[in-house]
């Protein structure tokens, strides 16, 4: 970010606002307000993901940024950070959180940087999570999401691309969140609370004792269908 402490950029489903992680907080938030106000009503109605890098942001500080955005007709939707303090504050305010450990901030949305291995095949970058996602946790990705673990009821996944769950899927899942109707959701045991692909929504039939099997959900003939996954 060249000599500005605030960067605002449009991402598919809203705005990504990156705040300098070290500059004095008061200055950064003041600059944020100025930036937004300069654009008049341009950002009105936007959903904001706030990226604060390593900065520990207290709950009261986060509350005031949230209010600052709300006064300008915007909603703080998610917070992305390397700091546990910040993530806790976000959780306390019931915001979505994204721990930032894998792609370093700034390069977060540069798929090329992640795919720079000498690969024969093209592909889309994604997020890999190697643990069970428990209630209240969420992941959002501009690419695909892979969970090596379960997705418990109350957890939430949102991906512009596909969602692969190598485990039980019980929570909410949204694939093709930017409208990609070719997106798929796969799970070893498919029983999501709610499943969305692009503009379609499905819910699981009431649970009967059944044998778990790998399945894939996709859009076919204008509705979501779930099929056995047999390679």
């Amino acid at each position: 970010m060249p000599d500005s402490t605030v960067a605002i950029k449009g991402v598919n489903d809203g705005l990504l606002i990156t705040l300098d992680p070290v500059e004095e907080w008061g200055l950064v938030t003041a600059e944020l307000a100025t930036h937004i106000d300069e654009k008049g009503a341009f950002f009105n109605g936007a959903e904001v993901t706030l990226e604060v890098g390593t900065r520990p942001v207290r709950k009261d500080e986060l509350t005031s940024v949230k209010a600052l955005l709300e006064r300008r007709g915007m909603t703080l939707f998610a917070v992305s950070s390397d700091s546990d303090t910040t993530l806790e504050s976000a959780i306390a305010l019931d915001l979505r959180v994204r721990a930032n450990s894998s792609p370093p901030s700034g390069a977060a949305y540069e798929p090329d940087a992640l795919l720079s291995f000498n690969s024969e095949e093209d592909g889309l970058a994604g997020v890999m999570i190697r643990r069970t996602m428990r209630s209240g946790r969420s992941v959002r990705s501009q690419g695909h999401v892979v969970i090596y673990g379960d997705v418990n009821a109350g957890a939430e996944i949102l991906a512009a691309g596909d969602v692969i769950v190598w485990g039980k899927l019980r929570g909410n899942v949204y694939a093709g969140a930017d409208g990609d109707e070719t997106a798929v959701v796969c799970a070893l045991d498919m029983q999501p609370t709610q499943l969305r692909i692009a503009g379609y929504i499905a819910i699981s039939p009431p649970e009967k004792r059944r044998k778990p099997k790998p399945e894939v959900a996709l859009i076919r003939n204008d509705r979501i269908v779930v099929e056995d996954w047999d390679g």
């Binding site: 306390a92 428990r134 209630s135 379960d150 109350g154």
Partner: protein, 285 residues
């Protein structure tokens, strides 16, 4: 550890323990599932096993561990008085009537919840560690400041839940938050289990619950109306021998001390019992 059967209070200099106290926080997410009851009963059970125990009521504003312990009328100072320097830690520690090695630090009743920070709790626990075997912290419901205060000093966390979908959901949320903080995997106490209802398929079984939460059980406590009457009289059930819930709590205490205690027979349905033993014995994840 020398046996010390009598409950007669005798003044003695504090023993130094070799390793220091283990700090255990009892939490749940959801309110009313039995955190306070569990803290009181495990505390009493440990003290009856000659352990030196401090109970801390971290539920600021809604204190009730003192009532269940029958110590309400002895409160002079509380947790916030200690943190704000109005008294020494020792002055806020209320000694139990019958069990001379059991103390309670009560919560403040009416003060600001932000009066205590996680760092305060860590400092307080560290101050007590050398002189005790167990420090048990009763956590408030919720996932906010009070929760973070209560888990900050914990070496081990016990999650109390009921066999109900909403309670289990909240327990799952709490486990996720503890994971995010890098805490050791907690243990599970399933409270208010009604075998009759499980057999009829009307209540989640211990197996259903561990299947969702994927953490190890350290106790199953049956629904027992004696819990209510004993709490009302300020004498936690674990004082008395004979009741089922009391025995369950005592077994948890012994497991916390490292003993391998087999699981109580919840009923004579051997299939059910076998499944439970498997849950305790092997890895459940």
């Amino acid at each position: 550890m020398g046996a010390n059967g009598g409950a007669a209070a005798k003044p003695q200099p504090p023993r130094k323990s070799a390793t220091g106290a283990k700090v255990i926080t009892v939490t749940s997410g959801k309110g009313g599932v039995g955190k306070t009851t569990t803290t009181a009963n495990i505390g009493v059970a440990l003290a009856r096993l000659d352990q030196r125990v401090v109970l801390i009521d971290a539920d600021l504003g809604l204190r009730n561990l003192d009532i269940i312990m029958g110590l309400e009328n002895r409160i002079v100072y509380d947790l916030v008085d200690v943190v704000e320097g109005r008294c020494k830690l020792r002055q806020a520690m209320i000694k139990h009537k019958q069990l001379p090695e059991l103390y309670l630090i009560p919560a403040a009743q009416t003060r600001d919840k932000t009066a205590v920070s996680p760092a305060d709790m860590i400092k307080m626990a560290d101050q007590m560690r050398p002189e005790f075997d167990f420090i048990l912290i009763d956590c408030p419901a919720g996932i906010e400041r009070g929760f973070r205060n209560a888990v900050a000093p914990a070496d081990e966390v016990l999650i109390v839940t009921n066999p109900e979908v909403s309670a289990v959901r909240d327990a799952d949320r709490i486990i996720g938050l503890l994971e995010a903080e890098g805490k050791k995997t907690p243990h599970l106490i399933l409270n208010r289990v009604k075998t009759e209802m499980i057999r009829k398929g009307e209540m989640l079984s211990p197996e259903d619950v561990t299947d969702i939460l994927a953490i190890k059980l350290i106790g199953i406590v049956p629904e027992d109306e004696n819990v209510v009457s004993s709490s009302n009289s300020g004498m936690p059930l674990a004082f008395l021998d004979g009741s089922r819930a009391g025995t369950a709590y005592r077994n948890i205490a012994r497991r916390l001390m490292g003993e391998n205690v087999p699981f109580m027979q919840l009923d004579d349905n051997s299939g059910f019992l076998k499944r439970i033993q498997r849950l305790f014995g092997g890895q459940t994840g």
